[in-house]
């Protein structure tokens, strides 16, 4: 049995028994009787200047131990641009922005003291939409944008344009001027999506040995460490971050938010300080998936060749740049993905508004760009008379094709996946009869996504009892990576039972740098580092056993917890005995490994302002759905859903199936009823579960799944991350199916019943996007 074969198994989750019995202690279960509780003073206006802030009355309130304000944390943080303070100091930029924090013996006392803080604000007229932000003479959300520190070179930014990324390849003007092309143009708009993790953002800090120790519900302990250091003006090494089991993240917990506040208050009080967002705070300051406006135009020949394409994508980053600055990069790989293009130019801009900041959400940017691209593709097919599936089969990226930034794609993946979808559709059959008098539609879409690689490290210590301890900064957010794929990988390398691989909880004091759990990267990046860490351990074990067994190392095998003479199963010695022997000769048996991006080349000059110019590990997905639309109510029922997903290699197929089912249903919520709307002051209106409509059991359908293995991947054992991508083309597929059912254009999601009724009755206004010029160059800074 090869290493790969013995790594593949449907290992159950080791954390399930405790989670099912309520024994798991998430961060928000870790308060005790000595913990101080915190309440935040948050802005009630979307824009303004703080004229006076006086906390002296609050400090005298019963039970109050400390109050923190901007004076305690003057540093700015951000991604690409350092534009974000921990507390508003002079300027207020959104409703809900923290201005001060009170730590007190009880939550009620902290709240009462917040009410005693004196705050005087001179309000400004807010800039609430991207259209307003881009209008000539618009007020600047960040007046001093020029003074901000650039954290990444090469991006363009100016005024309310927080960041701009461009991808340009070939002569697009010439392609559009070709006499034999038809030009198809489409516009789209999507709203925000709230993550609603069941555990809100929560952190607990103690000040120990003149350092902060933060326990937090995060996806990226190293970001919390670095941001806390930056805003407090401390070397980041003065901050230790550990991460208990996380009760859901979905990308929300990729940014540091409230953690540094606990550190400021812990330092001031010398006590343990906890901040837990109330559900209302969590909902209304959620770093949502951003709303976006898209204009896309293609030049297509009568034969169906896409000779030119241009697009502008506006992404609302809210009051601060955050993750959106990085995500401008993704447009080139998502909207610019899927299809072979002659010439292409794309611009993607993160725009400041006086609304709550947005952030990362599972397949961020990809979900709506795939919605736009697949709807646009169907509009091309409708105008030129092509069959949508045949058009896709013909035009999808294949071996040797160029991406938008000029990267060369390897291998035929999407085309065979479309064939596999055909087979899956046939196998599962149609649910059309369940439409029963309603409008019926079906659609198949494709999607391109990536694995976010980057630095990870791993240390493996082999113990004298034959177990191994894996030390990384990986976090268990529910995806199972830390409880399934990683112990499987280490066990596979060392011939152990994965139950004998202990996985240490993330601790920035114990493990090396890691860029976090997200972007489908954990199995790939930490997995690769773990395999490297096992290399010296294997060598040591084989060498030691070779002496013990008087057999050359090449004739030995690590399997079943033993070092065996390969030809004689059950021979040799236990790993425990070999480790004990090795320890006595050379000391503890240990190995470390590192991994980072390989940086696949793009074409010179194609990508500007991109954090990633080419994608190291592309991932593809094909989705198919049948829907029934009720013409009386506008309600959309999903009748069936099929997924063919490129996973490279499935190490735990059952766990991946669980991720696909969960990701698709989360995507159905985004497509159909998860609607965030902003009020007249730019506030998020959906402040709880009553108004934000999450998918319920009756909204779910069983997803038929075919995992596509064998596509090229530099991931360990040929893996690609599998947990992020299932949401990628759900909205696209549902929107295309609803368009087919209704015979109408679909330009916006979510497809709530009122919107679908308007569409059916021809009352949905045409999206004009006056703030996106028809002249592409006008949508760029330089």
């Amino acid at each position: 049995m090869s290493e790969v074969e013995r790594t593949i198994m449907n290992l159950p989750r080791r954390d399930a028994p405790d989670k099912l019995r309520g024994r798991t202690r998430y961060t928000n279960d870790r308060m005790d009787a000595t913990t101080l509780h915190t309440a935040l003073l948050r802005s009630t206006v979307p824009a303004g200047r703080i004229v006076r802030l006086n906390v002296s009355r609050a400090l005298k309130c019963p039970g109050v131990r400390a109050v923190a304000t901007a004076a305690d944390a003057p540093g700015l943080f951000g991604i690409g641009v350092a534009d974000h303070p921990l507390f508003a100091s002079d300027t207020i930029r959104y409703i809900g922005e923290p201005i001060a924090a009170v730590a007190a013996e009880t939550q009620e006392q902290a709240r009462a003291a917040v009410a005693a803080i004196e705050l005087e604000v001179e309000p400004f007229a807010p800039v609430l939409t991207m259209e307003e932000a881009l209008a000539a003479g618009a007020r600047l959300v960040h007046e001093n944008w020029r003074n901000y520190e650039d954290l990444f070179e090469g991006g363009s930014r100016r005024g309310n344009v927080a960041w701009e990324a461009k991808a340009v390849r070939g002569d697009v003007d010439a392609a559009f001027a070709q006499p034999d092309v038809r030009i198809v143009e489409s516009t789209f708009r999507v709203g925000r999506q709230n993550h609603v993790p069941f555990e809100p953002r929560v952190a607990i800090c103690t000040w120990e040995d003149d350092r902060a120790h933060i326990q937090t519900s995060t996806q990226v302990p190293w970001t919390v460490r670095n941001v806390t250091g930056k805003v407090m003006g401390l070397p980041p090494g003065r901050v230790r971050v550990t991460v208990p089991p996380v009760g859901g993240g979905f990308g929300l917990k990729f940014d540091a938010t409230i953690e540094p506040i606990t550190a400021v208050l812990a330092r001031k009080t010398g006590r343990t300080v906890m901040i837990e967002n109330s559900r209302t705070e969590e909902m209304t300051t959620c770093l949502c998936r951003e709303n976006a406006d898209i204009r896309i135009r293609s030049a297509v020949t009568a034969d169906g060749e896409i000779v030119g394409r241009e697009a502008t994508v506006l992404m609302d980053c809210g009051a601060y740049g955050g993750e959106q600055i990085f995500l401008t990069t993704m447009t080139a790989h998502t909207l610019g993905g899927n299809y072979r293009l002659g010439a292409v130019r794309l611009t993607s801009r993160a725009i400041y508004t006086n609304t709550p900041p947005n952030g990362a959400f599972r397949a961020c940017n990809g979900v709506y760009n795939t919605f736009a691209l697949e709807r646009h593709t169907d509009e091309i097919c409708a105008e030129l008379g092509f069959d949508p599936i045949e058009f896709r089969r013909r035009n999808v990226l294949g071996d040797g094709d160029l991406g938008a930034t000029g990267q060369v794609f390897e291998g035929e993946v999407l085309r065979p996946m479309l064939e596999r979808m055909e087979a899956l559709r046939e196998k599962v059959g149609s649910a059309r009869e369940r439409a029963a008098g309603r409008l019926y539609g079906r659609a198949t879409t494709v999607g391109t996504w990536f694995i976010f690689v980057g630095p990870s490290s791993a240390t493996v210590n082999l113990n004298a009892d034959g177990s191994a301890t894996l030390v990384t900064s990986g976090v268990e957010i529910g995806s199972g990576t830390m409880t399934q794929s990683l112990p499987q990988i280490v066990a596979g390398q060392l011939g152990l039972d994965p139950r004998d691989v202990i996985v240490k909880q993330a601790d920035t004091d114990a493990a090396g740098l890691d860029v976090g759990v997200g972007g489908g990267r954990t199995t790939v990046s930490i997995g690769a580092a773990s395999i490297e860490a096992c290399v010296p351990i294997r060598e040591n074990l084989l060498k030691t056993a070779s002496e013990m067994l008087q057999t050359p190392p090449e004739r030995l095998a690590l399997r079943n917890g033993r070092v065996e003479i390969a030809a004689i199963p059950g021979s040799g010695a236990t790993v425990a005995a070999v480790v004990q022997r090795a320890q006595s000769i050379g000391g503890p048996v240990t190995g470390t490994g590192s991994f980072t991006a390989k940086n696949v080349p793009a074409m010179a000059g194609c990508a500007m302002g991109h954090f990633i110019e080419a994608i190291d590990i592309p991932v593809f997905a094909v989705h198919d759905a049948e829907v029934a639309v009720d013409p009386e109510t506008g309600h959309v029922e999903v009748l069936s859903y099929n997924v063919v997903q490129d996973v490279g290699r499935a190490l735990n197929p059952r766990a991946i199936h669980g991720q696909v089912q969960g990701g698709v249903v989360q995507g159905l919520g985004y497509a159909l009823h998860e609607e965030v709307t902003l009020g007249p002051q730019g506030e998020i209106r959906q402040s709880g579960f009553e108004t934000y409509r999450l998918p319920l059991a009756l909204d779910a359908v069983p997803v038929a799944i075919d995992l596509y293995e064998g596509a090229p991947s530099m991931g360990p054992l040929g893996t690609k991350g599998a947990g992020e991508v299932p949401i990628l083309n759900t909205a696209a597929t549902i929107a295309c199916a609803v368009a087919n059912a209704t015979g109408r254009r679909i330009q916006q999601i979510p497809l709530t019943p009122p919107r679908v009724l308007c569409i059916l009755r021809g009352r949905e206004p045409e999206l004009s996007h006056p703030h996106i010029s028809a002249d592409w160059l006008q949508n760029t800074l330089d």
Binding site: P17, L20, D29, F198, E199, L694, A697
Partner: protein, 161 residues
């Protein structure tokens, strides 16, 4: 005012404000954190407990209304409730758990459902789950596990013979 009730089979005395939600007594006073406080408005089902064998969201039940009643939380059910234990075993078996925060409430709702509906079909199970939201799993595997428990019950002779 003092309220006295049975908590997981033991007498529990509470001297605070009778309007205190049961969830706060459990989590903040007793540090019994198995019952999860997620929405605190009765929508999500993560804080379901049994009051006199009835599934009830602990966020909506003031302690003062529990005088003389019997309350079981996930901690108690995991020890004493056969249906809860069968469900827990089935959820483990099918690998249903992800982030896990909704599961204590799921177990509490569905254990009562299993006792009362030994012949439910898939659709009935889904209807029974509308008060329990899960953000991770997409539900179907949870339903699979409940269907396995129902089938087991049938093979074992069932309560409805």
């Amino acid at each position: 005012m003092t309220t006295t009730f049975q908590l997981n089979g033991e007498s529990c005395r509470f001297d605070g404000d009778p309007m205190t939600p049961l969830i706060d007594l459990l989590r903040r006073d007793r540090f019994m954190t198995g019952t999860k406080a997620v929405c605190r408005e009765g929508f999500c089902g993560a804080c379901i407990v049994h009051v006199e064998s009835e599934p009830v969201p602990a966020c909506l039940r003031p302690v003062g209304l529990l005088e003389g009643l019997s309350v079981t939380t996930i901690e108690g059910a995991s020890q004493f409730d056969a249906e809860a234990q069968r469900l827990q075993a089935a959820f483990e078996r099918v690998d249903a758990v992800q982030c896990g925060m909704c599961f204590p409430g799921m177990v509490m709702s569905l254990s009562e459902f299993l006792r009362e509906n030994s012949r439910a079909d898939r659709d009935a199970v889904k209807h029974a789950m509308v008060g329990n939201i899960c953000r991770c799993t997409g539900y179907e595997r949870i339903v699979d596990a409940v269907m396995e428990c129902l089938a087991e019950g049938e093979h074992a002779g069932g309560a409805d013979v």
